[in-house]
Symmetry: C2
Subunit: 209 residues, 2 copies
DNA sequence: GTCTATAGAAAGATAGAC
DNA sequence: GTCTATCTTTCTATAGAC
């Protein structure tokens, strides 16, 4: 169908714009404090446009969340398999994770918010199912770090620490980048990569054998 | 005045109850998602009680925030001065910080929320001044870690790393405890201390000379 | 010091024009 | 596909009884 083909080209981009605006708003003000009007304002539009692409505010948030975790899996998670020792692989995973925190900050900050919603939120059955699915995605991503810590203990490249605890302290340190980082004017990718390397060097030092 | 003396004994406790309930609510649902009715419900009371002790919702939040940072300064910040090398002092500071994250979790989670409010929030002049003051308190606390990293480079007990970056990665790792930690039934102080020691051992490893 | 009742503002969501 | 107008609910905050 030609109409569908056209939509595949045009509609996703418009939808994408709404999504990016929502991520930015959620990051700035938080999920609850962000109104649908805020998202629309950021686009220079009105609510009508937002509601045309997303049924409700929770669904808008879920899409932002899903996007954030997909980016992490694609950019960092993939390095779980690769050459070298477990320590080498963990270094590549951490480096990529940090760059994601810096370059898709608006999306990534929402991962933390999502956890809160999940742990304490009173949501409908439908939304709860979606949250469950999203949390599974996040857990799966975290498992890659857990497994790599275990692999490091096995291949001798890393200290034999509790893999779950190590995963949490490592992810804490590098997730926090999304909290304090803000790009300097004129900053290049090379600057961010240098910064990421420094952080990795500091953080991973404690886990290496 | 006897009335005042009585208030000094009674009123603060009632106020304290409201404060603790607010911290708990803010942690569970976040600041914006928490209504004054939610806080009252947690007390088995109505809004009237909350508004009797706190003029507005922001002021309630500010008090929670202030309490959180005071606890950190009192419990962890004080260890900046003490015996041993800078590494020894940083160990004691981190250990105490982690225990605060576990034992006053409800209060501590709000420190992160406060940062968001400050970075992007559109607040009144009065509230902005208060936020400025609270952020100075937080900055001052962070400076203790920064200074101790610098002292560690000077006395040779720690690697000569960028103190600001090291402070951020360390605090990221140990702040994250408040995000993932949840107390097990029957857990004792001794359990938490053991856990805190493990985390400190893992995290500080990378910074030691 | 706490409650009930309510005013006033803001937000999520929908209907229908264009 | 986007806008205007509006319905409905929810929330902050206050007034006044007890």
């Amino acid at each position: 169908m030609q109409a569908t083909a056209a939509n595949d080209l045009v509609s996703p981009d418009r939808r994408e714009e709404v999504l990016a605006a929502a991520a930015e708003c959620f990051m700035r003000r938080g999920y609850e404090a962000t109104s649908m009007d805020d998202v629309a304002d950021m686009l220079g539009a009105t609510k009508g446009r937002v509601y045309h692409h997303f049924r409700s505010k929770p669904e808008l948030f879920f899409e932002v969340f899903r996007r954030a975790i997909f980016i992490l899996i694609r950019e960092a998670g993939v390095h779980e398999t690769g050459p070298g020792t477990a320590a080498d692989r963990l270094r590549r995973m951490s480096r990529a994770h940090i760059l994601c925190m810096m370059e898709t900050q608006a999306f990534q900050r929402n991962l933390t918010l999502g956890v809160d919603l999940y742990r304490f939120g009173e949501t409908s059955d439908e939304h709860r199912a979606t949250l469950e699915e999203l949390m599974d995605l996040r857990r799966g991503y975290e498992d890659a770090f857990r497994r790599t810590f275990a692999a490091g203990a096995a291949d001798g490249s890393m200290k034999p620490l509790d893999p779950s605890l190590a995963m949490r302290t490592l992810l804490g340190a590098i997730n926090w980048v999304a909290v304090w980082y803000s790009p300097r004017p004129g900053e290049t990718r090379a600057h961010r990569e240098t910064l990421a390397e420094e952080i990795v060097a500091q953080v991973l030092g404690g886990y290496l054998a």
